[in-house]
């Protein structure tokens, strides 16, 4: 089972750079919901930008919001900025669509970072433009 920790926390750089972790869908597949959330939030607490190749399910997103809220602390952690593409008009979100295996909306690239370091500049159905700053 993959470790539910940051991708490379044993070798955190001391430089002023911003670490970006791109996490494959394959790595996430075998993880339980709380393992995914812990991995994401541990990375964000370290000031990293976490990019998920296949995003989270709606239920996982709901729990991510809940756990994030429990970890917010004045002057230490203000929460997360999270971005995925908005739902396209052409995507089929009906029950039939989901039964037929159309789950595109659940596998969207997702960018997550510390709220005080990442700012969304533009977002539409096909583009997310974000500004990432150091602390």
């Amino acid at each position: 089972m993959p470790e539910a920790t940051n991708a490379d926390d044993s070798d955190s750089p001391d430089s002023d750079g911003v670490q970006i972790d791109l996490i494959s869908g394959e790595r996430m597949d075998s993880m339980a919901t709380m393992e995914k959330i812990r991995m994401i939030l541990d990375g964000v607490h370290d000031g990293n930008i976490v990019i998920l190749e296949e995003g989270l399910t709606p239920d996982e997103e709901s729990r991510l919001i809940e756990v994030t809220m429990s970890e917010i602390s004045p002057d230490e952690f203000n929460g997360i900025e999270i971005e995925t593409y908005p739902k396209s008009e052409t995507r089929d979100s009906s029950l039939l669509g989901r039964i037929m295996g159309n789950n595109e909306s659940e596998t969207k690239l997702t960018v997550i970072g510390p709220a005080n370091q990442i700012e969304t500049l533009h977002k539409d159905e096909t583009l997310i433009s974000a500004l990432v700053s150091r602390d």
């Binding site: 709606p58 709901s62 809940e66 809220m69 917010i72 929460g79 999270i82």
Partner: protein, 212 residues
């Protein structure tokens, strides 16, 4: 009509109420902070029960606990629809107490931010466990394509909950109903001003139709 017949009819009416009426559906009022959720909840509660639910404010996160108003009876076309209204705290992924320091002392701002985070977690829990339908309230003067809106609508859809989108604050010059309809074309959007009471007939018709 004889006494026996009257008694039989009376017992029949009571048993009908006891065994055939459904429990009122719990309708959660969701949306981002400052969309006007509590103003809407108060408008509905005042119109049909005479009481308010909570305090309204221009400062975000005024509602920091979910509040339920039970047995709100809405009459439409001679029929009565009974619902419980659950006014929930505005959902967000971040809370910074410094947002409130212009309005209050630092200690109060920190307390408000702590309560706000608890309130958001509570709102998410209600959404997963305890609501039967959702009224999603948006400020029609703001861009609706935000991550919180995208995620919450996705969460609501994944639970197959009936949802109505309320484009609130149509009394503002910057209001755009089309922007909301274009953002969430898969759901019915109803324009209104909860503050001014504009278009409330359509609001109540839709609530009765969707949640009755």
């Amino acid at each position: 009509m004889g006494l026996f017949t009257e008694l039989k009819d009376s017992i029949s009416r009571v048993t009908d109420r006891l065994f055939s009426e459904q429990e009122p559906k719990r309708i959660g009022i969701y949306g981002p902070p400052n969309a006007g959720k509590t103003t809407l909840a108060n408008r509905i509660a005042r119109d049909w029960t005479g009481d308010a639910i909570g305090t309204e404010s221009h400062v975000p996160h005024e509602t920091r606990r979910a509040r339920r108003k039970e047995n709100v009876e809405i009459e439409r076309d001679g029929k009565t629809v009974t619902i419980d209204i659950v006014d929930t705290p505005g959902v967000t992924t971040k809370v910074d107490y410094e947002e409130f320091t212009d309005e209050m002392e630092e200690d109060d701002a920190i307390r408000r931010s702590r309560e706000a985070t608890e309130g958001v977690a509570e709102a998410m829990h209600w959404l997963r466990e305890d609501v039967d339908g959702v009224v999603y309230v948006l400020d029609s003067a703001e861009d609706p394509i935000t991550q919180v809106n995208t995620m919450l609508i996705g969460i609501i859809e994944s639970r197959d909950l009936p949802v109505l989108i309320f484009a609130n604050k149509i009394d503002l010059d910057e209001s755009s109903i089309k922007r909301i309809e274009d953002a969430f074309p898969q759901h019915k959007t109803i324009p209104l001003s909860a503050k001014e009471g504009d278009n409330m007939d359509e609001v109540y018709d839709s609530i009765a139709e969707y949640f009755g």
